[in-house]
Subunit: 351 residues, 2 copies
Amino acid sequence: MTNQTSFSLTCPIPISDYPTVQLAHGGGGRLMNQLIERMFGAAFGNPALDARHDGALLEMAGTRLAFTTDSFVVKPRFFPGGDIGSLAIHGTVNDLAMCGARPLYLSAGFVLEEGLAMEELWRIVQSMQAAAAEAGVQIVTGDTKVVDRGKGDGIYINTSGIGLVAEGRTIGPSQVQPGDAVLVSGDIGRHGIAIMAVREGLEFESAIESDSACVAGAVQALFDGGVAVHCLRDMTRGGMASALVEIASTSGRRVHIHETAIPVRQEVRGACEILGLDPLYVANEGRFVAFVAAEDGEKALAILRGHPLGQGAALVGTVGTQSDGLVTMRSAIGATRIVDLLSGEQLPRIC
Amino acid sequence: MTNQTSFSLTCPIPISDYPTVQLAHGGGGRLMNQLIERMFGAAFGNPALDARHDGALLEMAGTRLAFTTDSFVVKPRFFPGGDIGSLAIHGTVNDLAMCGARPLYLSAGFVLEEGLAMEELWRIVQSMQAAAAEAGVQIVTGDTKVVDRGKGDGIYINTSGIGLVAEGRTIGPSQVQPGDAVLVSGDIGRHGIAIMAVREGLEFESAIESDSACVAGAVQALFDGGVAVHCLRDMTRGGMASALVEIASTSGRRVHIHETAIPVRQEVRGACEILGLDPLYVANEGRFVAFVAAEDGEKALAILRGHPLGQGAALVGTVGTQSDGLVTMRSAIGATRIVDLLSGEQLPRIC
């Protein structure tokens, strides 16, 4: 009952600011962070939640587990490179991998809208199973709810997951050290652009496919190669920029990146220009950022590039000695600027 | 990839039967069971899922865990005796307790509709935390998505949970034995009637409150008292009848109950008559059925009645020697009939 004493009848998000929930509260930017910190943090606060990691690290009867949850509301449900079913597996498996865990078991909770075509549900369910089999995880428990027509959008899927964390392994923002090398596992921005292209009816010379994939194997390759991995985060909602800002702010370390080192495919860059988006903030679903010990940077890069899901990996920055929790970026023309969260969101319902 | 070979392009729910998802597919009755077995079972099939229990029993690095998930879409969000927040905690904690587990950690996944009042979200979040604290569980990880106005219904909540299962304890349909005593932990039907009364604008002399509560303490009392507990199930969607039919059919045992022994409050019985409902099928959210060894029936009854959440407990039946997986009920006038699942659902969006 310890947390009850901190309850207040006053809503921690002032009505004068936001009387109601906005789309931007789910967008991975500053408003979402405020909602999570001020409301969920205030009510539920505990060490596991406060670590602000992709999942909770738990110790149960001597076994170290990671536990994570994600709901998927992506629109459209089918897109180049994936669908809501495969995405729901990749998203949660990747969150477990980001905790340094071996993903093992998933739950699946469906909120179906009355009128969803049975054939479509079957396609999605098959896609989930194919992705789960490929990731080596089992869907062991589930739940199905149906809501009336007009109270959903076909299908929403929640997946929660459990993974096993190796003895002695601690991965998270608290482990970030000055000097750490910062890597990204591949070119950024494809998932968000693939979704936007479908929504906006854009056509490119070749279709841009989502990068949606399970990255647990690439992470395991780093561990197997003896790399001192300090922190991992998948670059989903809010993109690479938001992942780095969250790690910098939680760890209190300065992260410095080089714009020219960040891998972005030409067609993604072009689409971003047309759509007025910054690729740094565009969502990925099969890309992660890794903070590793300074001396392991080159080794980590070689290992990632040798893995099918890390072929486009790049060293993009380092951790500085300042304790200001900021992300700074040196641009192509040599100017340095602070990278911040977007206040709202670029792309609603991207995952 | 073992399950992929069983995939078929043909949807396992024939289009001629149900081309689209119906409300009844989420109702806890026969249609929901068909959807789960034919579609989710066919795609995801594995021993943990196939056990058709309230949660999955897993062994991880020598630690025995229960893992479960539930989404909550109840309408209205606030009702006499609870709200969607407390319900989301009770539902998942109770599923863990039904696996014989000590509930420990929950995740919370929110799907918010654009426009939900912040104050209302705050009330729900506080209610979740109060229920979690009372149940002795922590909410350790979460996720927030926002969907556009008109694509949700204010708030849907998924909670998944992990609990610890004591060494050597096995609870589930497979443990049901001929001769077992069948108990219910209290009067039935109040949750469903409380919800319906609000929806239909019914007024009774005294408001009927939902029975929504965490029952883990009452279950623990049975274990502490040395009762040989064989199977437990909370009587949620589909009510007591569906819980018994599922256990009988999964275990292959005959379950025989006595209608006159089933505790139903007078006002619930009255409301059921007005609404044309059978209390046996009305949802509960703080009531469970327990199958215990024949010789422990009376002891279990005394223990439950001594617990605040089992004061209205009753011995309602026994397990027969037939292996037909049926539930039979002897009525007040002495006739015996088969109790079956409803094909659809009595009450949509009850939880």
